[in-house]
Symmetry: C2
Subunit: 144 residues, 2 copies
Amino acid sequence: MIFSKTCEYAIRAVIFISQKSSEGRRVGIKEIAAGIDSPEHFIAKILQDLSRKGLVQSVKGPNGGFTMDGISNQINLEDVVKAVDGDALFTGCGLGLKNCSEKQPCPLHDEFKAIRKKIQLTLRAATVGEFNEELDRGLSYIRR
Amino acid sequence: MIFSKTCEYAIRAVIFISQKSSEGRRVGIKEIAAGIDSPEHFIAKILQDLSRKGLVQSVKGPNGGFTMDGISNQINLEDVVKAVDGDALFTGCGLGLKNCSEKQPCPLHDEFKAIRKKIQLTLRAATVGEFNEELDRGLSYIRR
DNA sequence: TAAATAAAAGATAAAAAAGTCTTTTATTTA
DNA sequence: TAAATAAAAGACTTTTTTATCTTTTATTTA
């Protein structure tokens, strides 16, 4: 499944926040949850964590909410995935072997290395902000 | 993490069984569990399932055990993964969107399509039996 | 045919992931 | 400064995954 559910929500959320930020507004948890079709309190937890790690900004109180104002082009999806799922996806053995290494490879070592590399480079190349316009134009979706 | 723990064990187990089968012998659950470093009863369950689905053969009673005699070159790792984890890895949306499709794509639709394709083709190209020799020669490992 | 062997099956148990609910804290604005 | 707002934090529940233990069934061999 590549990503945990938590991570799927996280990616959808940062893309959503970025999109709204590009229109100059903050978004609250309720709007985010509705906008990406996720459980409200669950995505709240995830965003608390991302906020602590500096991947999103948050402001409490009336007219508060989340933004990625100015940072959505600095942050890429590799950053988000690492923050949520850690880097096992990029470094771990495909067969789950703890001691798998160049010297002691699993039978699929080289194959998985190529796959992991492709995943990593794909995510690294994708900034959170680069989807704003196509989302605005209805060319792609982050709901359901 | 790409595969579930169950699936990791399953792949390691079929490769192990294939290797021993190539030497003309059946292997019991205890030997398999020790050989791939997995919980004994857990891998037993998994193999019961693979046995029902025809991916491995099993024989009860004294001198019984599991084999892939004659079939380890017909079965590839895509078959194994599909049997255990289903085909969500090959067909599902990377962001977990149920309705993601060509007409209603998620922002990463094409990127994930390429990744899934690579994973699928890699697994399809790998027959269970093709690792026997390098395992025998100590060039790769399926333990720890 | 009885004893031994080994997988199959079923019932639990433990751990992790996903999801929910309540209280607290910070901030704004009237 | 009081009321309203919204995120932060903490406690808890549910579901899924992973793992274990016990009993049953099939097979072999002495």
